[in-house]
Amino acid sequence: MQVSLTTPPVAESRNGATADAAPVLRLEGITKTFPGVKALDGVTLELYPGQVTALVGENGAGKSTIVKTLTGIYQPDGGTISLGGEPVHFATAQDATAAGITAIHQETVLFDELSVAENIFIGHAPRGRFGLIDWSKMRRDAQEILSRIDADLDPDMPLRELGIASKHLVAIARALSVDARVVIMDEPTAALSHKEIEELYELVERLRAEGRAILFISHKFDEIFRIADRYTVFRDGQHVGSGLIADVDEAELVRLMVGRSVDQIFPQRAHNVGDEVLKVVGYAHPTEFDEINFTLRRGEILGFYGLVGAGRSEVMQALFGVTRPSKGAVRIDGQVRVIRSPAEAVENGIVYVPEDRGRQGAVIGLPIFQNVTLPSLAQTSRGGFLRLSEEFALAREYTERLDLRAAALDQDVGNLSGGNQQKVVIAKWLATKPKVIILDEPTKGIDIGSKAAVHGFMAELAAQGLSVIMVSSEIPEVLGMSDRVIVMREGLIAAELEGEALTPENLVRHAAGIGAQP
């Protein structure tokens, strides 16, 4: 399969993708207000049978709110939803399901302890005598649906024994089981590998061929242009544009999303790297990675590229002491160090900004300043006793350097936007004056403004002599920021690219394993 990165492939016009077809689902003037936030402000969305409509927008644009409105989780404050021309109202999730609307979510939201068949049919299981669930019919029906999508899964297998891709198949089988007229796919490829994504595309094709209307939410432009027929763009809870994919290009979509024309600009950097700071030799883990060797120099930004699930985060978490490698050694400034816990990593000057901000990064519930000083308490306290003035001073110093937007330093970090939470996490680590900072997908899911700030700051840190490891799946970011890039595939280092060799094509080929062929 060819991946083109420089120019998006123009979607070929498909059957029925014309402007005059009648929409099966139409939302008009939908408004939804939460305390303090207007999440949806009179938005319009139309879905057509046999067509894929891509919904794009930055985080906070209202995409998840519209999904929850469509699936009956939220009830809109105003506006109309009409299905097949008839006005409908979904008071509960069950109403939406009964009307033939089904959703496949970002994290496969299914039940680990229940069987495959039950996951497909929960909420609408076939009933036999006395209204009891008819297990044998449920199994047969599940088998039939699974074979329709070529999924070789045992209906009786508990879901917990399946991998993520198989769970997706179950979610899709579930969508088919209700004979859905409308299928919502909320970032379905976010956690899938390359091959699994291809299989998912085939399924989308099949759903389209069966005449279902598909709402496809994605951040990945290449896939939008590959499989969508139409697009709708939301910005800040408002509908800002929609039309046929064939009539639009990537630049136009970005302009609609952000409200201005932006080319992603990365900071200019002088490549002056210093002595070796970190050396990883023969790092291995029984199931996650093997033969990991690399070095990191002072003032260098080392990119780690690969597909999701290539083992990059696993290596980083081992370096940070979260998991233990079974083999291998780490040298910091030439000294062999054993890191058995994050606490020891921090003591050795290695810090880690995790990808999962809400769970592993910020301590939601604690104020901003306490988040910043958490690893530096030894520095701000005296004899184990807190000194609040020192804490505020330290927190102020670093949050202002990162241009944090907050009302006050004693505000709960949970009230900040994703981008500002990320700044708090980075500020927390900078306050420890580390030698090596590892950033795992540092700009994932944050707005474009904060993104630029994070990029700028990374460059400044490197210029000041900090060594940076950046795990990223965004090719422009990897190319724009890194001095050198290590590509990982299936738990192994597939390539180390630098200078001339550092091209998008090389990154993709090595990550996908195509580069191995002569």
Partner: protein, 326 residues
């Protein structure tokens, strides 16, 4: 079948069989059918309450008020019988079920509508229900001679060689097997506990499902309340004191995960039987009954250690060559 052999239930069954064989090797009388029937009857109240607790724990809640509910319902039934000996047992049974269910609903409503953590709610209602017993009884006992023969005779009446109490436990267990496996509500208990977020998307109301679980648990506690005072022919403020923790223990030993969403009715049944057998066997094998508490404590710790070990998530397998071995 092979899946069953690897399950917690199989291991627990084996443990119970081994225990019985061990006892039988020295005291064969213990495994005589009549004695096993007696042990089962004796364990019936625990089984009934543990079944109710199971659905509550499945939905990520806990019900610490069951023993107080049992005692309050038991006291009301006993006082009603003492005052109006003519009221038929059928009416008392209905009263016990309804009273218990209402007390369960109070818990359920507080959890559902006000979103108060279940442990706080049931800790509160536990002390309230106990206190009410004192208020209505004035601290007095209702003794055997104040109760009618029909009242005390019902749970002990024999039917095909087993007392009614045991038959009720069997019947309720059967209903639970059927209800959990084959009704949407039964499956919803697993869905709500396993992944509450996803349950909402499949059209399951999490709070309402928890409310139903508390109602069922309360209803069974009420039913057991009548059976308990009738069987022991006495009602007072402190009956079944601390029993709520034995009930939770039966569930934990049976492999019901305190984190919700995992466990089976068979497991709970086995967990309750294990505790019942230990309790009844101690005097037979000439160990002081004072050992019982320590043994069940150890059993709980072993069970939870075992469940947590086997349920621990492995990291994802990324290395191609590791895939074959896993």
């Amino acid at each position: 079948m092979t899946q069953f052999l690897k399950s917690r239930e199989a291991i627990l069954s084996a443990a119970i069989l081994a225990l019985l064989m061990l006892i039988a090797s020295r005291f064969p009388a213990f495994v005589a059918p009549s004695n096993l029937a007696r042990v089962f009857t004796d364990t019936s109240p625990l089984i009934l309450l543990a079944l109710g607790q199971t659905v509550v724990i499945l939905t990520r809640c806990i019900d610490l008020s069951v023993a107080a509910n049992l005692a309050l319902t038991g006291m009301v039934c006993a006082m009603l019988n003492a005052t109006y000996p003519g009221v038929p047992v059928a009416v008392i049974l209905v009263l016990a079920l309804v009273m218990g269910a209402v007390m369960g609903m109070v818990n359920g409503l507080l959890v559902w509508k006000l979103n108060i953590p279940p442990i706080v709610v049931t800790l509160g209602t536990m002390t309230i229900y106990r206190g009410i017993i004192f208020v209505i009884s004035g601290g007095a006992w209702v003794n055997a001679h104040e109760m009618s023969h029909a009242f005390t005779g019902f749970p002990r009446a024999e039917l095909l060689g087993l007392p009614v109490l045991a038959w009720i436990a069997i019947l309720v267990t059967g209903l639970f097997f059927l209800g959990i496996a084959r009704t949407p509500l039964g499956r919803a208990f697993y869905a709500v506990g396993g992944n509450p977020h996803a349950a909402v998307y499949t059209g399951i109301d999490v709070g309402k499902t928890q409310f139903m679980a508390f109602t069922i648990s309360g209803m069974l506690a009420g039913l057991t309340g009548y059976l308990w005072v009738a069987r022991y022919s006495v009602a007072y403020v402190d009956i079944a004191g601390g029993f709520e923790l034995e009930v939770v223990a039966a569930c934990v030993i049976g492999g019901i995960s305190i984190a919700g969403g995992a466990g089976t009715i068979l497991g709970t049944l086995l967990g309750a039987l294990f505790l019942g057998i230990v309790k009844n066997a101690l005097p037979v094998v000439d160990i002081s009954p004072f050992w019982q508490l320590a043994i069940s404590g150890t059993a709980i710790i072993v069970a939870v250690a075992f469940n947590t070990r086997s349920g621990r998530n492995k990291g994802r397998i990324i290395l191609k060559r590791a895939e074959g071995h896993a």
